[in-house]
């Protein structure tokens, strides 16, 4: 989510583990030192704090997932395990409630469409902007980065107005949602690919050009393969970003048929009709993101094999922090 132009440089070597290094005794005679004076002692307090934070951050979600399997209407009192909120309840389960069912399909539809459009658009933009010299590309690169940092509410408001007044033939609904989401997410591939281009340098394409490759061949046969991990990482970021997106789709959806999961959870819970079916919907979102992340992690490692890339670099790359 951060650092638009952070370089995907190879991860710096992990800092030495202070705890593993015994304090060197250079004094020549044994001196008693209480453990709290040992400058290399393990920071137990910090570690404890970190674990407390992680518990606070993850246990509520685990409990929310647990209640999606609750055999009762409560979101807070456990009444036994069941699949009723997923598929066995003939009326209120995610499978059978038409609104919840449609929301799952709409989320998948928006994620796929947005990724298919935004990634090629952003990659081509990044390549072109990076190689084309002059004030025009610099200006539009700045515009692109502004679209990355502008608060989502202001962006969503502008989309809402443009589709209700100027381009009113587009109407609110799936098309306007996809147009809005593509614009919002196109900065991911544009930023990630540009950062990768900077670290690659130009020697590979110059070599190819010296060997007689045309610009198209350079882009197709040299740059694209070298950029593959970055392109892949940005696709993962776009896809999972759309699954989690709320503001844009909330402002641009118009009926039950084009309302994705995040908006259904919000409006149903806020409207006072919450129940474990919403937890089930949220758990499905979670599972979708998880699958994308695992695929993204494995795919990134596969594509960037042969480089000094370890698991940590893959992790930070698919979370936009390369």
């Amino acid at each position: 989510m951060t650092a638009p132009a952070a370089t995907p440089a190879p991860a710096p070597a992990p800092p030495p583990v202070p705890a593993a290094t015994p304090a060197p005794d250079i004094s020549g005679h044994r001196s008693f030192r209480p453990f709290w004076r040992n400058p290399w002692r393990h920071p137990w307090f910090l570690e404890g704090f970190t674990w407390l934070y992680l518990i606070w951050s993850l246990v509520p979600i685990a409990i929310a997932v647990l209640f999606s399997f609750n055999n009762g209407r409560s979101q807070s009192t456990w009444q036994g395990f069941s699949w009723r909120w997923y598929f066995s309840d003939p009326v209120n389960s995610v499978l059978h409630d038409p609104q919840l069912h449609a929301a799952v399909i709409q989320t998948v539809r928006l994620s796929v469409l947005t990724t298919i459009i935004a990634v090629p658009l952003g990659v081509a933009f990044a390549l072109g902007i990076n190689r084309w010299r002059g004030p025009i590309p610099a200006t539009f690169n700045f515009v692109m980065i502004l679209s990355y940092v502008i608060p989502e509410l202001i962006f969503g408001v502008s989309m809402f107005f443009v589709f209700t007044t100027l381009f009113s033939s587009v109407h609110l609904g799936t098309l306007s949602e996809v147009l809005g989401l593509v614009t919002w997410n196109v900065s991911w591939p544009a930023i990630v690919v540009q950062a990768r281009l900077v670290t690659l340098g130009r020697q590979y394409e110059e070599a190819a050009a010296d060997l007689g490759a045309s610009q198209f061949q350079v882009a197709r046969r040299v740059l694209l393969p070298l950029l593959a991990p970055a392109i892949f990482a940005s696709a993962v970021l776009v896809f999972s970003g759309v699954i989690d997106d709320f503001v844009i789709v909330d402002l641009l959806s118009s009926s039950a048929g084009n309302t994705p999961m995040s908006v259904i959870i919000y409006s149903t819970q806020h409207g006072g009709n919450g129940g474990p079916a919403l937890n089930a919907l949220g758990s499905i979102m979670l599972a979708m993101s998880l699958i994308i992340v695992v695929l993204g992690y494995l795919g990134y490692r596969l594509l960037s094999r042969g480089e000094a890339s370890v698991g940590l670099a893959a992790l930070t790359a698919i979370s936009g922090e390369g």
Partner: protein, 295 residues
């Protein structure tokens, strides 16, 4: 001429993206301006965009000004509340996030990947799912009230318009973003600098104060920006966790005006005011991260 031909290939590649940004980013922002400065169709109470700056009217701006600063200003307190919530929540994010990010970047050692996965996990989980988790916990019969009951405290109506709950929701919602920025920044600090501090006789605390903290100024600032910018436009956290007017923020004001006939122009004005205020931090963020990348 040769330069033009050399450029042509890259121009063609960049062009679709440029056109897309013009039509679907620059024009929409201008549309907000045209509606903010536009007129109201009295008959159907819908906003009429005025595209020519010479014909702009300031009636919506005046309306908003009165709402914010006038004698019956109802928007003034909402803006103050937004600022207070955002300030408290982002400082809490920093106080909680910094030690965790610092530990993982410096001391996690061989377990770094495990810690990193756990730190990033919330980042991948839908915001609404994470709010839902706290609704479950804080509801009248939820685990928090049950735990309070064991120690003899009577149940608290956490979800009935409590500022504390909304701030908790904001911290919980946005802290993963801050932690990721902090972690990336702290991880980049060369351990040799810290060792040098140690070799020169600084203790653990003084090494932190004199070496680590100055070096993490930049990640702290960008990290705070990345939490503050969305918090100022947030309208869903408080709707989920409180729903009461006593906790509404600027985002609720804007979002409420969008669907209301006759008020959409004012919604446009408020969005633009927010954008103008945030433009400087936004540009600072762009420059700061560019400089970081150049290093």
């Amino acid at each position: 001429m040769k330069d033009m031909r050399k450029n042509a290939f890259w121009v063609v590649l960049a062009l679709p993206g440029i056109l897309w940004l013009v039509v679907l980013f620059i024009v929409p922002i201008y549309a907000v301006l045209a509606i903010a400065m536009g007129k109201l169709d009295q008959l159907i109470e819908s906003p009429v965009a005025v595209w020519n700056p010479l014909d702009w009217s300031s009636s919506a701006v005046i309306d908003v000004w009165r709402d914010v600063f006038g004698s019956s200003a109802f928007a003034g307190p909402i803006i103050v509340r937004t600022l207070v919530y955002t300030a408290i929540a982002s400082l809490l994010c920093l106080l909680i996030g910094y030690p965790a990010a610092y530990f993982v970047a410096r001391f996690a050692g061989r377990r770094k990947a495990l810690f990193l996965v756990l730190l990033i996990a919330p980042f991948w989980i839908s915001y609404m799912m994470r709010m839902l988790a706290w609704i479950d916990l804080l509801s009248s019969g939820g685990y928090v009230n049950k735990a309070l009951g064991w120690v003899g405290v009577s149940p608290v109506n956490w979800l009935g318009g409590q500022s504390v709950t909304v701030i908790l929701g904001l911290v919980y919602g946005y802290i993963p973003y801050l932690i990721m920025v902090l972690y990336a920044g702290l991880d980049r600090i060369d351990p040799a600098l810290l060792e040098a501090g140690r070799d020169l006789g600084l203790g653990r605390v003084r090494t932190f104060i004199h070496v680590t903290l100055p070096l993490s100024r930049q990640p702290i600032l960008t990290g705070l920006l990345i939490t503050v910018l969305p918090m100022l436009g947030d309208y869903y956290t408080n709707q989920m966790l409180s729903g009461a007017a006593s906790t509404s923020m600027i985002g609720n004001l804007i979002q409420g005006q969008l669907g209301t006939p006759g008020l959409e122009g004012q919604g446009a004005v408020l969005s633009l005011m927010l954008l103008v205020v945030l433009l400087i931090p936004m540009i600072y963020y762009v420059i700061a991260t560019n400089r970081e990348a150049a290093q």
